[in-house]
């Protein structure tokens, strides 16, 4: 493929639209609808029916930001500075780096790291690039840090993982919602309108969180749990449900297996034990159970607070057990679900950028799945690699870690977002060749040997799958700046240089049509979904198979499990679990519990939002939240700069003294870089099943520093 240097690709050179375009927000998994009207190099944003938060409103500011990358960059020699280069030079350099790494390290000498923000088309072709063009097993993505525990828990219980197995709007009709480890009022604000309706309908909301967040403050009942003990809490709630005869025995008998083991396992979770572990008092435990069990329709929703632990999968299982015992899953208006975080956190985990996965939520170690996908790809099934390392293990293996010596990174910024980030940064620095495709010069891109400037959401078509499993079409509203290409273009360019001149479409719709065929017959079946149907405004939730013999299009599946669960016997499975010892107990040297999370005006590693003035005005820097009791003891004043340290590193942060946090816990948001990085502190203890790092709790200390407040 001959591409003129520094020119936009032929696909993008077509004339941009000048009229308003209906599309969706670039940020979280809500994927709020918005209208973009091109204006100069950027666009005017209007909210759709569901509203927008501040991040959505200001999202267009990055389109014509001077901090955008508009030319490929390469580094000459390990210690040289990045300089501008032509696309051909940059892609040639990348391909040469990959070939060199594979010459010494074999196919697995190259790693690929993707992201949950990539569209379905990109995630699909990134996986294909790894397996077909690079033939490496070493691919995973940052969704491992978000959704993997919920996904594994759902697979165990239901045989299928779709974040919400019901439409979001069902929330409004729920008599009670138990929300575990989500601060959605700040992290995905527009979703609150569903809870507001639910409240107006007389519904109750129980929030489990170590902090009295805006979400918790609006709740009927707030359970201020110690970080990392949600599992004990769930077992304790189930104990009380059993004690009070609230178990739906009929449902349990008709639609589940494994109840006996779980009932026995939770028999040791009486309130006094649970109080001791969680710090939640018995009257509150009883009230939570009463609210949940007395509602006609009820939901248990988990999020990262429950899932990002070295026992995240078991914690999810514990809450699913509670939901199953109360007879919630598979009933209209009720159920268990997880709130997916990243923009395409759902679709991104279905189509093959995960280490063990092929498109359509197929398993890479399943011979039938390999045969199906290999046929679509026109390759020998035996040529497909086997499952490789999980995200953190892959990052930890890079360079002098003994794994890949070259890495292609797309849609992620692990220098800020990976656990034990200081260590990950060292591993990245030890690579022979790091290739990063990004919109701006992120902290990780700044370390790269080759930086490829790519288009933003408003500049290309593509689909995402939102937190309720609904596939949405993002539309192109304007052309990318000169010198910028799409991710699909980048993938095609690399594939061609690695010897695959075909098979990597640069047109999103063509990529989607191939994805449909690859996913056909899989758990996440997209075969019946087309750009045309989406353009016509159809609300299509997967699975949506191809039309049957009668030719009628499949309507999609808004509600899963109404008839049967996805295990072969059609039943949901209880999984007996026990609260483990803390992976890193507090001690005299590190006496505090550190938990991490988000703020309203920033998104993920902040690569986008820290470059938008309106957002940095509100949230200019990181901070550490601590309770006045603790602040008094440490003699730390509000606003004072302090050092927060753990066994892995230290960060320098402004103290924010608030009475909304537990006195034994401190909180640091993770969106900032440099010495403000929360992830310099976090633990790389991994869940044995999901390989999710323990972002949500580790042992820490706070010290005053002599330096003045910045």
């Amino acid at each position: 493929m001959a591409v003129p240097p520094t020119a936009a690709s032929p696909v993008l050179a077509t004339v941009p639209t000048c009229t308003a375009v209906s599309t969706h927000c670039p940020y979280c998994a809500l994927q709020c609808s918005m209208t973009l009207t091109p204006a100069g190099g950027t666009a005017v944003v209007e909210a759709g029916e569901g509203g927008l938060c501040r991040k959505g409103w200001t999202s267009a500011a990055l389109l014509d930001s001077p901090r955008r990358l508009t030319s490929p960059l390469v580094r000459d020699g390990r210690h040289g500075a990045l300089r501008e280069a032509s696309w051909d030079e940059a892609l040639d350099r990348a391909a040469a780096g990959f070939r060199a790494a594979q010459a010494t390290g074999g196919p697995d000498g190259v790693g690929v790291f993707g992201g949950g923000g990539l569209t379905n088309e990109k995630a699909y072709l990134l996986g294909k690039l790894a397996r077909v063009a690079l033939r490496t097993s070493q691919i995973d993505y940052n969704g491992r840090f978000c959704m993997s525990s919920a996904a594994a828990g759902a697979m165990k219980a239901f045989g299928l993982d779709r974040g919400l197995p019901f439409p979001l709007a069902d929330i409004a009709g729920a008599g009670a919602v138990l929300l575990v480890g989500s601060n959605l009022a700040e992290t995905m604000p527009p979703v609150v309108q569903h809870l507001t309706r639910q409240k107006e309908n007389g519904g109750a909301l129980v929030v489990v969180d170590p902090r009295r967040t805006p979400t918790a403050a609006a709740a009927t009942l707030h359970l201020q749990v110690q970080p990392g003990t949600d599992l004990a809490l769930a077992n304790g709630l189930l104990f009380l449900a059993i004690e009070q005869g609230l178990v739906d025995e009929q449902f349990v008998a008709a639609r589940t297996t494994g109840w006996d083991d779980v009932r026995r396992a939770v028999a040791s979770s009486w309130p006094a034990e649970v109080e001791r572990a969680t710090g939640v008092s018995e009257p509150d435990l009883r009230e939570a159970v009463r609210l949940l069990a007395s509602a006609d329709r009820a939901m248990v929703l988990t999020a990262r607070g429950a899932e990002q632990h070295a026992h995240g999968v078991d914690t999810v299982s514990a809450f699913v057990n509670l939901a199953l015992a109360l007879g919630l899953p598979g009933r209209p208006g009720s159920g268990w679900g997880c709130l997916t975080g990243q923009g395409n956190g759902q679709g991104g985990r279905e189509h093959g950028q995960k280490a063990d996965q092929l498109p359509g939520y197929r398993k890479l170690d399943d011979p039938a799945a390999r045969a199906h996908v290999a046929a679509v790809w026109g390759v020998d099934p035996d040529s497909l690699p086997q499952p490789g390392r999980s995200a953190y293990e892959l990052l930890d293996a890079l360079g002098d870690g003994g794994g890949p010596t070259a890495l292609l990174l797309m849609g992620s910024n692990p220098v800020v977002s990976a656990p034990r980030a200081g260590h990950v940064q060292k591993r990245l620095a030890s690579l022979d060749c790091l290739v990063v495709a990004d919109v701006v010069l992120s902290e990780t891109a700044a370390m790269a040997d080759v930086v490829l400037p790519v288009a933003q959401w408003a500049e290309e078509d593509g689909t995402t799958t939102d937190l309720q499993g609904r596939v949405l079409l993002r539309r192109r509203a304007l052309s990318p700046p000169a010198g910028v290409r799409t991710d699909l273009d980048v993938l095609a360019g690399i594939a061609e240089r690695m010897g695959c001149a075909t098979g990597f479409p640069v047109e999103p719709e063509a990529a989607f049509d191939e994805l449909r065929r690859a996913s056909a017959g899989g758990a996440a079946d997209y075969a019946g979904i087309s750009y045309d149907r989406l353009l016509a405004g159809e609300a299509l939730h997967w699975p949506c198979p191809a039309p049957g013999p009668d030719g009628a299009p499949h309507p999609g599946t808004p509600r899963l499990f109404l008839e049967r669960f996805a295990h072969p016997d059609g039943r949901a499975r209880f999984v007996a679990v026990r609260q483990p010892q803390q992976a890193e107990p507090v001690d005299e040297a590190f006496p505090l519990l550190l938990t991490t999370g988000r703020v309203a005006a920033q998104y993920q590693s902040g690569a986008q939002t820290r470059r938008i003035g309106a957002l940095t005005e509100t949230s200019p820097s990181a901070f550490v939240e601590l309770h006045p009791f603790l602040a008094t003891r440490l003699e730390v004043a509000d606003g004072e700069r302090v050092r927060v340290s753990t066994r892995r590193g230290e960060a320098f942060l402004r103290a924010r003294v608030v009475d909304t946090i537990r006195p034994d816990t401190v909180f640091v948001p993770f969106h900032w870089a440099g010495r403000q990085r929360a992830n310099l502190l976090t633990s790389d203890a991994l869940d044995p099943t999901s390989r999710m790092p323990a972002f949500k709790v580790c042992a820490a200390r706070i010290d005053r520093v002599a330096e003045a407040v910045r």
Binding site: E186, Q193, R212, A218, W270, S281, D587, P663
Partner: protein, 486 residues
């Protein structure tokens, strides 16, 4: 309890573990061992002829809240050899074998004594026949069989006397009440639950217990049990006679140590163990109610479980040590809410600079709260009638965490948390719309007359919409006075 787990350097592991006792401690030790090491060979002997069950929930069974079959503990993995209904009759420490009641000999590398305890039968005249069997209608309350026997007897009985006003006695009394019996508690000490409560707490508890309909006799030892073939009453030491056709003995427990004693192990009140839970024979360990550690014999389940976890670490080649447990007692009867922990004996008069005693008493409403703080750390507490701070208080006691300067927070929840916001009093820099970070001042100064105009000018209310009523309030502030009279 503090413990650290690190790999033991010598790498030595004991392959054959024999556990004597399949109760709360023994079954937990087996579970913990199997979690840590799939290859360890475990044999467990249980004198009761049934799988392990949760003794703590027997009160629930007596109260009719759970069925017999609902208190089973997690089943041991298939590879564990379970010898149920088989008692160990002797230990040969020289050959490292145990001999069981079925005549079999089982070798061990490590022997774990988890023999628990038996119910104490007080030396009361007439309580037992010449054969040592309890008089008909008199029961101890220790095992599932005891529980079944009491439940059966309660069906035809009318008047029950519970001897013992401790934790178990009160739970038994509450359970019997649910069977429709008239119930009286006879207690030797001057107040109920004297091990856990101070006299005032005991007095308030007495009011709560009496309000449920239970008669309470304090400072009265049972001197005799009357009745020929079956019980007709209890005679108190002060001469009073209490009629009863059912008597439940809840007078405490006695560690089962005869096996250890016969094997020549050091025994005081229970089998002596060190911080590695070893007896004076390094191949023999003891945990639970039959073990005495640093002078303490624990009668609660939490310490037994903590010991089981440490023991499993040690037996699977990890370094660990047991430093003692902090005990928290909980009365499990739904309408009697009581948590007690640590030493609650210091009185207000004992207050010094480093010993603080906080007390709140509302006897008429059956509420009593007491917290003892020593050198800035909770060392004892009672919460009776209101458990709303039990969670934080338990953790503060358990972990010796730093306390709020405002001690009131230890006893009462909901102090100082935000109430409904009055828009009129909001500071200009207070954020009204969190989605769009719009301040009260921005709404006030945007000269809009409707919410829609505010939305247009500031984007407030265009996210989740949760601030709508606040924004309305900022448009036309309602005077607080007016609202109060409305």
């Amino acid at each position: 309890m503090t413990r650290r787990t690190v790999p033991r350097t010598d790498g030595h592991q004991l392959r054959r573990v024999v556990v004597v006792g399949n109760g709360m401690a023994g079954a937990r030790a087996v579970e913990e061992l199997c979690l840590r090491d799939p290859d360890v060979l475990v044999t467990v002997f249980g004198a009761e002829d049934r799988p392990a069950y949760n003794r703590v929930l027997l009160s629930d069974v007596l109260a009719g809240k759970r069925r017999h079959d609902e208190i089973a503990l997690t089943a041991a993995p298939g590879r564990v050899v379970q010898r149920l209904g088989v008692a160990v009759v002797s230990v040969d420490r020289r050959t490292r074998t145990v001999t069981s009641s079925d005549g079999a000999t089982t070798p061990y590398d490590a022997l774990v004594l988890a023999t628990g305890s038996t119910a104490l039968v007080p030396p009361v005249q007439g309580i037992a026949g010449p054969d040592g069997r309890l008089l008909e209608g008199v029961h101890v309350f220790r095992t599932l069989d005891d529980c079944s026997a009491i439940t059966a007897a309660a069906g035809s009985a009318k008047r029950a006397v519970v001897v013992g006003g401790g934790l178990l006695g009160l739970e038994a009394a509450r359970g019997l009440l649910r069977h429709g019996l008239s119930v009286e508690v006879v207690h030797g000490a001057g107040h109920l639950m004297e091990t856990q409560l101070d006299p005032t707490g005991g007095a308030v508890l007495r009011r709560a217990v009496e309000a449920l309909g239970v008669g309470v006799h304090l400072g009265s030892f049972a001197a005799g049990v009357t009745g020929g073939r079956r019980v007709t009453g209890v005679r108190l030491a002060d001469g009073r006679q209490v009629e009863a056709d059912l008597v439940v003995l809840a007078c405490g427990i006695r560690p089962q140590v005869h096996l250890a004693r016969a094997a020549g192990l050091a025994v005081e009140r229970a089998v002596l163990v060190d911080d590695l839970l070893r007896t004076d024979d390094p191949h023999v360990y003891a945990i639970g109610e039959c073990a005495q550690h640093r002078g303490t014999v624990y009668g609660l389940v939490a310490p037994a479980w903590e010991q089981a976890a440490v023991l499993a670490d040690l037996l699977t080649g990890r370094a660990a040590a047991y430093g003692g447990s902090k005990t928290i007692t909980r009365l499990k009867a739904m309408d009697l809410e009581l948590a007690a922990m640590g030493d609650t004996t210091p009185e207000l008069a004992d207050c010094r600079d480093d010993v603080e005693v906080l007390v709140f008493a509302d006897p008429v409403r059956h509420v009593y709260k007491k917290v003892v703080v020593t050198a800035g750390v909770v060392t004892g507490a009672i919460l009776l009638g209101d458990l709303s701070t039990a969670g934080p208080l338990t953790q503060a006691f358990d972990r010796a965490t730093p306390l709020p300067a405002e001690r009131l927070h230890l006893m009462f929840s909901g102090l100082g948390t935000a109430t409904e916001v009055d828009p009129a009093t909001l500071a200009d820099d207070a954020v009204v719309c969190t989605c769009n970070q719009v301040s009260a001042g921005a709404v006030r100064s945007c000269s809009a007359r409707t919410v829609a105009e505010v939305a247009l000018a500031t984007r407030a209310t265009t996210g989740c919409g949760g601030c709508r009523s606040l924004v309305e309030g900022l448009l036309c502030p309602t005077p607080a006075l007016e609202r109060r009279t409305a």
